[in-house]
């Protein structure tokens, strides 16, 4: 329990850091992003009060001391006020994020679970058959695939399966022309169909990490005495592999979850752009293209928050799996 409380404290500190970056970065940059942003707003129909509110959000008003700006900033964040998206005027940033987030979570969630399951299984099998032809072939091949930039892999898949073979849709999150969002089977089917290629992109890109982590720890575990003992007892090969070796080798994979999650989220941002998938990455891209800094910053905050929560969940799983952590040992 104390361990978990410490972790919660850490994630709060990380969240605070993310928020503070968001506060400091526009103020440190050469040029004045806030003025550019406001100039853009002034071409739209905005009231003076709204402009003043944005000035305060970005801290353009030099008469207010910095600490006061900071407190105001935190206060507006707590009220969900992230500014107005100039690129999609007059939607507040928070509304755009609320619409985009479920798409990204669905995409990343499906990809992470699939690639964890497939990758761990493959890593386990090639470690068990060490030195066989597929142990020498699979890791280099996967390494090559994971070195391919995510968006390039996405482009290639669009080209082959979307444009060439016309098997899967390559645009948007669902068929915007024929189905309406809701809990209908048509809509769910359409969403699943549209998610296939993006998910495949992400799984291919992130598979190598899981396979190699699992393979390497599994090889270390296989030389342990209890594995030899299990084999000497005459247990079936499958039982030794799953219940003795793999069970103990899987912990480092869960520890490396946070790093791989960050990479998959980054990959998802780029993949969404290629597929015009209506998630956070696409919103971020539109923000970048239109110099809409409020939207860009909002996207970063939401991504950071989601990643922190996912990390906390993986901590919970780890605590559940490893009794040493539960008892407060190292």
């Amino acid at each position: 329990m104390r361990h978990l409380l410490r972790r919660v404290g850490f994630y709060l500190a990380a969240l605070w850091a993310a928020v503070t970056f968001n506060f400091i970065i526009p103020r440190l940059m050469p040029g004045d992003p806030a003025e550019a942003y406001i100039a853009k707003l002034q071409t739209q129909q905005v009231t003076r009060e709204q402009i003043n509110a944005i000035r305060e959000l970005f801290g353009v008003n030099p008469s207010i001391p910095l600490w006061r700006q900071y407190l105001d900033y935190l206060n507006s964040l707590l009220h969900g006020n992230l500014g107005i998206a100039t690129s999609q005027f007059p939607s507040p940033v928070i509304d755009i994020l609320r619409q985009s987030l479920p798409w990204t979570i669905g995409l990343v969630g499906a990809a992470v679970i699939l690639s964890f399951l497939i990758g761990t299984l493959v890593g386990m099998i090639i470690a068990w058959k060490r030195g066989s032809w597929y142990d020498t072939m699979v890791p280099p091949l996967l390494t090559f695939l994971s070195a391919v930039p995510y968006f390039w892999m996405a482009l290639a898949l669009v080209y082959i399966f979307g444009v060439g073979l016309n098997w899967f849709p390559t645009d948007s999150g669902y068929d915007v022309f024929s189905v309406t969002p809701g809990w209908s089977s048509d809509f769910i089917l359409s969403v699943a169909q549209h998610a296939i290629l993006p998910v495949i992109t992400l799984v291919i890109g992130s598979l190598a990490g899981w396979v190699l982590t699992m393979r390497n720890t599994m090889i270390t575990t296989l030389s342990e005495d209890y594995v030899l003992m299990a084999q000497a007892k005459g247990l079936s090969e499958r039982r030794v592999m799953f219940n003795y070796a793999a069970r103990n080798a899987i912990l480092p994979s869960i520890t490396s979850f946070s790093i791989s999650l960050g990479l998959v989220v980054s990959g998802s941002l780029l993949t969404e752009i290629v597929f015009n998938y209506p998630g956070i990455g696409f919103a971020l891209y539109k923000g970048v293209q239109a110099d809409d800094y409020a939207l860009v910053e909002g996207c970063f905050l939401v991504i950071a928050l989601a990643v922190l929560i996912a990390n906390f969940l993986s901590d919970l799983v780890y605590t559940f799996l490893d009794p040493r952590v539960r008892r407060g040992g190292s």
Binding site: F10, Y11, A13, A14, A17, A18, F21, N22, I25, P26, M29, P30, G31, D32, P33, E35, A36, R130, G131, D135, T136, P139, P140, T143, F144, S146, A147, V148, P149, Y150, F151, W152, L155, Y159, V163, L212, N216, I219, T220, S223, S258, G262, V265, S266, L269, V274, L284, Y285, V288, Q289, D291, Y293, V296, C299, F300, I303, A304, V307, L308, N311
Partner: protein, 324 residues
């Protein structure tokens, strides 16, 4: 690694020479016995040579419009032309310069930060150690690429002149150091308990000297491996930032090629030559460097090596005169 046995009578210079030769031979042997490292370094060397020799390889200026746009590959333009009528092969070889330059700059800077944060947070206990370790972990858990996008897009606000390689390198340096720092910190934590550190402390060496002259040389293999890993990450992230249009889109680089390919919808109309070559180059370069890292891992952790057949191994060990 073998230690040279030099007797006291030997002249100092000859022992230096011996040692240098020994080291050269041992590097060569390492490359021979570890094909992964050899292949990876070969790939890197190939791209560096291509980047250096760019003017010799192509007669065209990469940024100049020379013909009508989007010609398919032909004998005059072996990889075709871009939508703006630039020679794609020239863009690719000159682009290698930008990509490698940003990659090296950011990776070197990032490695220096990793060494600083990793070693100091590992060596110092108490408040300093805890605070540094907290900073490392916070950077580790915050998603790097989105942060880099925010930084790069705000840095180029108001003036397009800020969209250059230097800004990209700086942004990547700042967002890529945390993983390596954590690895180095863990190693430092275990090294600082060793006798040689205690001895150095007892002889009154200054703390800075202990950290950077006693402990750091012992982590050289680890620093090399995190440098390579950082380089791979930085190249990937750089291409991604340029692909988003956050780099200098008027100057040839691999990410810029892909940016224009995406913006001109090169794919939908089947102009594969505008996006296949650049993507393949990135993939081959990054995969090659990842192999270098696997090679270093195998050197450090013998269990990961694939066992050679027994007889061959005995023969090898007899020839070298060392037990494997």
């Amino acid at each position: 690694m073998q230690v040279t046995n030099v007797t006291g009578q030997n002249m100092h210079s000859s022992s230096m020479l011996n040692r240098a030769m020994e080291r050269g031979r041992s590097i060569f042997n390492t490359l021979k016995s570890n094909p992964k490292i050899a292949v990876g370094i070969g790939i890197l060397a190939f791209f560096v040579l291509v980047a250096l020799a760019a003017p010799l390889l192509t007669p065209y200026d990469p940024d100049a419009t020379i013909v009508v746009g989007s010609l398919p590959p032909s004998s005059a333009h072996i990889l075709g032309t871009t939508g703006l009528g630039q020679d794609m092969f020239a863009q690719l070889v000159y682009g290698a310069r930008v990509t490698l330059l940003i990659g090296f700059t950011a990776a070197i800077g990032s490695t220096l930060l990793q060494i600083f944060f990793g070693l100091t947070s590992g060596y110092f206990g108490g408040v300093i150690g805890d605070a540094f370790s907290l900073i490392i972990n916070v950077f580790l858990v915050l998603p790097g690429l989105p942060l880099a996008i925010v930084l790069a897009s705000l840095a180029s606000a108001n003036s397009a002149a800020n969209k250059n390689e230097f800004v990209i390198a700086l942004v990547l340096l700042f967002t890529s150091w945390s993983y390596g720092a954590r690895v180095l910190r863990a190693q430092t934590l275990s090294l600082k308990e060793r006798e040689f550190v205690t001895a150095a402390r007892a002889t009154g060496e200054s703390t800075l000297r202990i950290i950077f002259f006693e402990i750091l040389p012992n982590e050289f293999a680890l620093v090399a491996s995190t440098f390579v890993g950082t380089f791979v990450y930085v190249v990937g992230a750089e291409i991604a930032l340029e692909f988003l249009g956050l780099g200098d889109t008027s100057k040839a680089s691999w990410g810029e090629i892909l940016y224009w390919a995406q913006n001109n919808a090169a794919l939908i109309i089947g102009k594969w030559w505008q996006f296949v070559p650049a993507g393949l180059c990135v993939a081959v370069l990054c995969a090659g460097l990842t192999f270098v890292n696997f090679g270093i891992d195998e050197l450090a952790n013998p269990r990961l090596r694939v066992e050679r057949p027994r007889r061959k191994r005995l023969l090898l060990s007899k020839k070298k005169g060392v037990a494997v």
